[in-house]
Symmetry: D2
């Protein structure tokens, strides 16, 4: 499970983790929990392209806090999917951030977004299952 400790360089002038930095944290968590499957997409030249992020900043995260992440694939549509992510503070168990991240799978050879069906959908459903299992640990 991804864990990030809040460091001085994550903070901004308000002494909180800056709003932009959380998007890097969320991306880190997505790469991390998908690590077994990254090669599959890389080899096929398929990019995970973010088309929307809807992020709630619930509580500021402070220096030294341990942030833990829950990452789920919450929706698989015909052309796009949604990753649902929550960041909690391990010390307080407060939700720091929750976010819905909508993605398309983009074929970099054909230069177009792919339909999420057939073998590709199977792969995504398998990823979805792994992430769900991970969150039960």
């Amino acid at each position: 499970m991804t864990q990030i400790i809040v460091r001085g360089y994550h903070l901004d002038g308000y002494q909180h983790v800056n709003n932009a930095r959380y998007l890097e944290f969320l991306e880190e968590a997505r790469w991390d929990c998908m690590s077994d499957d990254i090669d599959y997409f890389t080899q096929k030249k398929i990019a995970w392209v973010i088309v929307n992020v809807n992020i709630n900043y619930r509580q500021p995260a402070l220096l030294g806090q341990h942030l833990v992440f829950d990452t789920q694939i919450s929706k698989l549509g015909s052309k796009s999917g949604v990753v649902s992510q929550v960041i909690r503070c391990r010390e307080t168990d407060n939700v720091i951030v929750d976010a819905l991240v909508t993605f398309v799978l983009f074929d970099m050879k054909q230069n177009k977004a792919l339909a999420l069906d057939g073998q590709l959908l199977e792969k995504l459903v398998s990823c979805q299952g792994k992430l769900a299992a991970l969150s039960k640990v």
Copy 2:
């Protein structure tokens, strides 16, 4: 008007501006067009705290493109406001990103979000007017 040229260090492995970087771009544009009014809030120890960002990534921005920004205060509620921002590519006139950024004004002395009324609301309405005027240039 804020303008940012896309540099190599803004890109990620997909050769596009990374999704997190745009939140810094949007923050830069907000600071930039509010520059006359920053002191007012700083002196009163009032922080603009972001509580939600809903951002659409419409088109990738590429190396060397000139990004221009439109920043408006689109809503002022009793406790929170919304800044509406659009990033366009000057060369293609395409919308690259549009975003709704919901903020509260946080009193760092009293450690609480402020009601948007009275003198504070007047100030915000005045900012709103300046931004609207700016976008007509």
Copy 3:
């Protein structure tokens, strides 16, 4: 001449611009003052690859300060060159940062560093002259 205003998101937990951020500022200034010549290198698939940075942090830069940049090519060797950069605060005229940035020109087609001679050296000498002229303004 490149100018960057220090924003809240540039600061870290010490309320100063973070040490890593200056390297982005220096890169921005290099791209900015080389803007007429970027295409030359891009078209030839020549990358400016940084091999060493020696950076002195002289004074902290604070929220709202205007940073101005002086960028010179201070040395052209047979295989590498040195860009000498100084960041000053416009308000105080203090030096904030000075840095020597050693680069090689890397041919991305042949996958090797290029000798700085012939037409390439002429190009670099011309860049050097432009930068020197710029700093006299």
Copy 4:
């Protein structure tokens, strides 16, 4: 031991980890291996302020590589110290980056750099010992 996996958002337009990002990596490694001692300095309002970084970029780091860090306090002078850091790629065992990071300890109450003597020097020598022991594992 700090380990960072190279992600897409660490790369720049050349598909290598960007030169500025390494300074965040180095800062992460310093915080990480000093974690038991951070409170000591924080409680006394003593900031580790970086005054010089001399960093060699030996090899580009690529997507998916595991970077491991060696962090040592290589010198303790009367007013400043030097942290010596090396980043290696676990897969190739190549040195990616080595750096000397010169710091002063800055008293944020008195607003001045502290002499590295007495109890403070003892603390630093103890940190030095711990880091040396860590690197032998």
